[in-house]
Amino acid sequence: MERQSSISASELSLALAGLALFLIAFDAVGGWVLRGAYQKSTVNPIYRALLGNPETVVLGSSTAMSGLSPSALGGRAYNASENGQTIFYAAAFLRNLPLDHSLKRVIFGFDVQDFIRGHKSEFMKYLKTLAPLAEIDSELMKKYELNDPLARYKYVSGLYPFQGRARRVLFEWWRPKNAGNGFTFFEGYEKRNPNRRPEDYATLLEAPEESYEALRQLVDLAGKRNLQLIVVSPPWRDQLIPARQKRYSRIMKTAQKIFQTSAVCNLTEISSSVIDKLIGDETKFFDRRHLNGTGAEIYSRFIAQLIANRCGELSRLSSP
């Protein structure tokens, strides 16, 4: 028996076609307006970082976010690193810097996590962290596209990249927030959960070539943008686990070659009693991977001193 319907198929098709056309037009116009506002709103991480005309910007993941205090680094510094910020993101940051930026120096917090699975890393799923730059950086978006079935739609839609942020983009374009120095520090020490078993990173895949490629890109971009690139490696207590130590050493070996061939101030493999003391003292850490506020102050002062002693003589880089 045929089912009854109060509307005909042609009526429904007409209404849905009208709706689709309206949505496409709305999406295009809305996307155009938001993209324009985004460039000069503090939702845009580059705009936010450059708002106070800093000379130094810190890029990197949560280890750099919680480990490098701009006030202890000295000068006008801004910490633009974020939870889950990958090496691909740091490259995108430099790629999209405006021509009239005030920066002289980039401190990059090298994080071995970037080399675990390349762009397939869990970190790339952090849409909030990634999306602000993916909106304007097609190269980053292409990488991301491989990770998310929705991303292709996101790439062609005007509104979707701003989902949940449209109001903020417009508001913070209208009234840019005081960006401060970007530093977020952790307090105290979070004990590890003894019931969970540690995973052996040594059994995971080899570090993908694309991560090293992104590192090379970062170095090249810094040169092209006339910026001094300083690479640091905020300490982890995790380095004490032998399997991780082995993997870390393997990745560092290749990374060191990239740093050697370019004019980079490499402060990743510094052996010092300050670092040893930090790693040995759990009260200076928030958890196994992140320094807390006190630890960050000590580490940042140490890095500032190293920069003055070892990187000070480096002139601004010219294009390689």
Binding site: R3, I7, L12, R117, F162, Q163, A166, R196, D238
Partner: protein, 457 residues
């Protein structure tokens, strides 16, 4: 993917449509994890075999417990045994390759308890002789694996769903429009309400005892609205998806937050599970209990309620807060029974209003147990809320989003509750509503796509 599948379904010839749905459903489940697709097929095969065996050997003793145990074994293993005996999974269960903490996490087959319950209802009904077992294993497979209801229900019964699935009628334009409307509203409830609320609720449960009163209350009440928006939103998405294939699934939520007593609440919340528990736990237990002659009738009723609700609590997981949740619900049901027996007249407006306020707040407090990791967290949050300590929640546009979305959701529920016959009938106004909801979700919806909370159960 859903829309292209619906178009292909409409274009396919009638005899092909059920098999197209079966292939699409299995492929859909396989996208989560191909290894677990094998598990799904194994559960389906076991249930199919159970039905056939019961028909051929109706007098074979102990067959129902044996088949029940066989069908439930993956559920028991994943939901309870790996928690009670963690060494069982450490050596041979798939573990996610990498997570942020650097620790392995167990992958649990999504929708496991929902499709297990659907299989069990089939076995029990066949045993009771309500209908003969299906002969065609592929047709039976489609009944269990039909993708809109596979992940988190509604838990369907064989007679209503199989008839629709195998008649394989094309959806009417009305059904397509209904489907699109349900999908749009479901996504609205999930992305514009539940996921934004999750932002405050998650923050409140990080260290429940350390919250200010405002933050604790927001976490407490926010979770009830979050889980409602999340699960009801998901159910509407499931209903809407099924309508695009010409299938009407059971409505799982009927304005539960307007219930006037606890019994009415559970007649309106997760209806398919409540009916399942009623049909296969509560009533059979009641029948057995009547046989215990020395026990007074009220004690019998109370004992049945207690066992039923403890089972319901433990269905959520093998944790003490879930057990306490079940106990609280049982006590509330028992008290509600006493109250109703003492009441002679029909409830008046004022008593209905008081009943609604009391029920809502009891639900809020009890539901916090589902969210709390431990009893300490639950007590901590309640203590923080009622300590009336100073402090505030940072006001942001997110709160405005939440309040507007909540106003819309509760407004729609109020209209459906008090004017149940009211429907938008005009095609163009219905299309405009769909458009508005899509724009809302696109512009103001949460962008992080949190997992449906009930997937975890």
């Amino acid at each position: 993917m859903l829309f292209s599948a619906a178009i292909l379904f409409g274009l396919a010839s009638k005899p092909v449509r059920p098999w197209f749905l079966l292939a699409a459903s299995l492929a859909f489940y396989g996208t989560f994890n191909w290894a677990f697709l094998i598990l799904l097929v194994a559960v389906i095969a076991c249930t199919y075999a159970a039905g056939r065996f019961i028909q051929r050997h109706p007098h074979f003793g102990w067959q129902v417990p044996i088949w029940t145990l066989a069908v439930m074994s993956p559920l028991l293993f994943y939901k309870y045994l790996i928690i009670w005996f963690p060494w069982m999974w450490e050596s041979f269960i798939p573990v996610s390759t990498f997570d942020l903490e650097g620790y392995g996490t167990v992958l649990i087959p999504v929708g496991l308890s929902f499709f297990t319950f659907q299989c069990l209802s089939y076995i029990f009904d066949v045993r009771r002789g309500y209908y003969p077992p299906e002969r065609n294993p592929l047709r039976f497979g489609l009944f269990i694996a039909f993708f809109p209801q596979l992940l988190a229900g509604p838990i369907e019964r064989w007679p209503s769903l199989s008839k629709q699935l195998f008649s394989a009628e094309r959806p009417t334009p009305d059904m397509v429009l209904d489907g699109l409307q349900l999908l749009a509203y479901g996504f609205f409830m999930k992305l514009a309400l539940a996921d934004w609320l999750g932002f405050y609720v998650d923050a409140a449960y990080v260290n429940p005892a350390a919250n200010s009163s405002v933050a604790a209350f927001l976490g407490l009440y926010g979770f009830t609205f979050q889980i409602y928006g999340d699960f009801c939103g998901y159910s509407l998405i499931a209903l809407g998806s099924a309508r695009l294939f010409g299938i009407k699934l059971i409505i799982n939520f009927r304005q539960p937050l307007f219930a006037r007593d606890i019994e009415e609440f559970w007649q309106r919340w997760h209806i398919s599970l409540t009916r399942w528990i009623g049909d296969y736990v509560y009533r059979p237990l009641g029948v057995q209990m009547i046989k215990i002659k020395w026990l007074p009738k009220r004690a019998q009723e109370s004992a049945v309620l207690l066992v039923t609700w403890i089972a319901m609590g433990l269905w959520h997981g093998a944790k003490v807060p879930f057990l306490i949740f079940g106990l609280i619900m049982a006590i509330l049901f028992i008290l509600n029974g006493f109250y109703k027996r003492g009441r002679r007249r029909r409830p008046r407006v004022m008593s209905s209003l008081i009943g609604w306020v009391v029920t809502f707040h009891l639900i809020v407090v009890a539901f916090a147990l589902i969210r709390a990791e431990t009893m300490e967290d639950w007590f901590g949050l309640l203590k923080a809320a009622f300590a009336f300590s100073p402090g505030h929640v940072p006001f942001s546009g997110i709160l405005v989003n939440i309040f507007i979305a909540l106003f819309v959701v509760m407004g729609v529920d109020a209209v459906r509750r008090f004017w149940p016959d009211y429907r938008l009938k005009n095609l163009y106004s219905r299309t405009a509503v769909i458009g508005l909801l899509v724009i809302w979700v696109l512009v103001l919806g949460h962008d992080d796509g949190k997992t449906i909370i009930y997937f975890g159960f």
